[in-house]
C-alpha cells in the first residue's frame, strides 16, 4: 500500500561478499538479458508511431507503453532467472539442514549464488508501481506455494522453502525467514503456513515454524525455531505463547 520507497517489501536475499566478487558478471548478464525484450518493444513502438500522420498516437499511447514495458522487464527478468536457477540446481540441488557459514560448504555457497540470481527480478517486482502481479506472482515462479486470495504483498517473504495456504492474511512489514545465520552456522528449514491463518503486522517467523489451520498470531510477536502453532488458537508474545484455544 502507501509505503515509502525504502520499505517496498522485496524478499530478503543477503549475499556473502566473498562469493559476490566472483559472480558479479552473472548478475550483470541477467540484467542485460532481461532488458532486451523491452528494448525491442520500444523500437517497434517508435517505428510504428513516430511519423507525421500518427504522432498524436505516440503521445496518447505513451502511458500504456510505460505500463507494458514495466511488466515486460519484470516477466523477462523472472524467466531468465528461472532458467539460470534450473542450471544451477542441476549442479547442486537445494536441501534443508544445518550447514557451516564458510566458502568451503557447498550448500552455503550455492545458496548465495541462488540469491545473486534472484536479486534483480525480486527488486524489479517490489518496486513496481502497480498493485497487480507483484510479490505473490514472482515467488510462485521460484517454487513458493501461495494459495488463492492470500494477502502477502506488503511483507518480506523468503523465496525458498515456504508454503502458504488459501485465504491467509499476512500483515504489513512482517517477515517470513526460511534461513537463519547464527555465528558460524547457517540454517535452512521449511516454513509451512496452513489455510485461513491470520498473521499480524510486524511479526517474524523463524525457520522451521509450522502454523496450522485457523490460528491467529498477534501483532509484533515472533516464533522460535521449529515452533509448532496448534489449530484454532491465538498466540502472542516474544516468543509466541498460547493465549486462547477455541
Amino acid at each position: 500500500m502507501f509505503q515509502p520507497a525504502s520499505l517496498k517489501g522485496d524478499s530478503p536475499t543477503p549475499i556473502d561478499e566473498r562469493i559476490r566478487k566472483k559472480f558479479l558478471i552473472l548478475y550483470i548478464v541477467i540484467i542485460i538479458l532481461s532488458l532486451i525484450p523491452t528494448s525491442l518493444f520500444e523500437y517497434w513502438y517508435i517505428t510504428l508511431f513516430w511519423s507525421e500522420t500518427y504522432f498524436w498516437g505516440f503521445f496518447i499511447a505513451l502511458p500504456f507503453n510505460v505500463f507494458l514495458s514495466i511488466y515486460l522487464i519484470q516477466l523477462s527478468a523472472i524467466l531468465i532467472s528461472v532458467l539460470f536457477l534450473k542450471i544451477i540446481n542441476l549442479i547442486h540441488n537445494p536441501k534443508e539442514g544445518n550447514f557451516k557459514r564458510t566458502i568451503e560448504d557447498r550448500d552455503y555457497y550455492f545458496w548465495t549464488i541462488r540469491n545473486i540470481v534472484k536479486k534483480w527480478p525480486l527488486y524489479v517486482t517490489a518496486s513496481n508501481p502497480f498493485p497487480w502481479l507483484k510479490n505473490r506472482f514472482t515467488l510462485r515462479f521460484y517454487g513458493v506455494k501461495i494459495g488463492k486470495k492470500a494477502i502477502c504483498d506488503n511483507s518480506w517473504i523468503s523465496s525458498e522453502f515456504v508454503s502458504i495456504g488459501k485465504n491467509v492474511i499476512i500483515g504489513m512489514n512482517s517477515t517470513i525467514l526460511s534461513f537463519a545465520i547464527e555465528q558460524d552456522n547457517f540454517i535452512l528449514k521449511k516454513i509451512i503456513v496452513d489455510d485461513n491463518v491470520l498473521i499480524g503486522a510486524k511479526c517474524v517467523l523463524l525457520p522451521g515454524t509450522i502454523i496450522k489451520r485457523n490460528t491467529k498470531l498477534s501483532v509484533h510477536s515472533y516464533t522460535n525455531h521449529n515452533q509448532v502453532l496448534e489449530e484454532n488458537s491465538i498466540y502472542r508474545g516474544h516468543p509466541a505463547k498460547l493465549k486462547e484455544n477455541n
Binding site: M1, F2, L7, M172, A201, V219, I234, E244
Partner: protein
C-alpha cells in the same frame, strides 16, 4: 455498544493490514492515462519545436520560429514534466475521492465482507494508492503531505511522515508531530471477513518512535511520546507529557529535562565510584586482618 462489538472477536489481540484487489483497482490505469494526456497537451508545442530543429519539418506550425537555445530548456522540461504528472494525478484522484465520499459518506464501525461500506472502503483505498505511491517515490518530503491533505486527512504544519505507512482516512495529525522510520498508523483493521474502522488522533508535538504500530481508535494527547518497538491497543488513550512503552503499551515514564537526566547520571557515577572505593577499602581491611 461499541465496546461489546469489539469484544465479539478479540480485536484487542490482533491487528493486521492489507486490502483485497477489487476490480475497482483498474482506476490506476485511468489515472495514468489522464496524467499522460495532460503531459501531451502541455508538451505538444515544445516537442514540436525540437522536432523542427532536428528535421526541419513540423507536425503543427505555431507561427513563431524556434531557436537553438530551446535545447537548453530540455532538462527543465523533463523535471517540470515529473511535477506536472504527479500534481495532475493527485488533483484528478482527489476529485474521484470526494465523489466517492458523497455517494457513501465514510463511517466508523465494524462492517462485513460484501457490505456497502466494505466496497467503498476498498474503492477509496485504490483511488489513493497511485498518487501517494508517486509522491513517496519522488525525493521531496513535503509532496506526500500535500497528497494526504488532498484526500481529506488533517495534517498540521511541519509534520514528518515520510518514512512510514499512514492510512488516508480517519487520521488526524496535529502540528509539529514527528513520526519515525518504519511505523504503521492504521485506522482500519481487517479480521477474516470483517473490517473495523475507527478514528486515530495524534496531538501536537507528539513523537512516534521507530518500528511502532498505532492501532485504530488510539488517541495520543499533546506532547505524548510512544517509545521504540511498541504498539497500542484498540481504543487506547495515551496521556500527554509522558513516555509510553510496551507491547502493548503498559509502562509510562516521565519525560526528564536534559539537566535533570545529566544530574541523575552524575549521581549514579558518584555512587558507583564511592561503592568501588568502599569495596576496595573493605578488601584491604580483610587482607590486613
Amino acid at each position: 455498544m461499541e465496546g461489546e462489538e469489539d469484544s465479539q472477536f478479540d480485536l484487542e489481540v490482533i491487528s493486521t493490514s492489507g486490502v483485497y484487489k477489487t476490480p475497482f483497482s483498474l482506476i490506476i490505469l485511468i489515472q495514468l492515462f489522464i496524467g499522460g494526456l495532460v503531459l501531451f497537451i502541455v508538451n505538444l508545442w515544445f516537442i514540436n519545436s525540437l522536432y523542427y530543429l532536428l528535421t526541419g519539418t513540423e507536425f503543427y506550425s505555431f507561427g513563431s520560429k524556434t531557436e537553438w537555445y530551446y535545447w537548453l530548456l530540455l532538462p527543465l522540461n523533463i523535471y517540470g514534466n515529473i511535477f506536472l504528472f504527479v500534481f495532475t494525478v493527485i488533483f484528478f484522484s482527489s476529485g474521484i475521492f470526494r465523489i466517492l465520499n458523497k455517494i457513501s459518506p465514510p463511517q466508523e464501525g465494524i462492517f462485513e465482507r460484501g457490505s456497502k461500506e466494505w466496497k467503498y472502503m476498498h474503492r477509496r483505498f485504490w483511488t489513493a494508492f497511485f498518487p501517494i505511491w508517486l509522491a513517496r517515490a519522488l525525493p521531496l518530503p513535503w509532496l506526500d503531505i500535500i497528497a494526504y491533505r488532498s484526500f481529506g486527512t488533517k495534517v498540521g504544519k511541519s509534520v514528518v511522515l515520510y518514512e512510514g505507512y499512514v492510512d488516508p482516512l480517519f487520521v488526524e495529525i496535529d502540528d509539529f508531530t514527528m513520526t519515525s522510520l518504519n511505523i504503521c498508523i492504521f485506522s482500519h483493521l481487517i479480521y477474516q471477513d470483517k473490517v473495523l474502522i475507527k478514528k486515530v488522533k495524534i496531538g501536537k508535538a507528539c513523537v512516534v518512535g521507530p518500528h511502532t504500530i498505532i492501532s485504530p481508535g488510539t488517541i495520543m494527547e499533546d506532547f505524548a511520546v510512544l517509545g521504540v518497538n511498541s504498539y497500542t491497543e484498540i481504543n487506547q488513550r495515551l496521556k500527554g507529557n509522558l513516555i509510553h512503552v510496551g507491547t502493548p503499551v503498559r509502562i509510562t515514564l516521565p519525560i526528564q529535562s536534559v539537566e535533570e537526566s545529566q544530574q541523575k547520571a552524575e549521581k549514579v557515577k558518584e555512587s558507583t565510584i564511592s561503592d568501588n572505593t568502599k569495596q576496595k577499602n573493605t578488601d584491604s581491611n580483610l587482607k590486613e586482618e
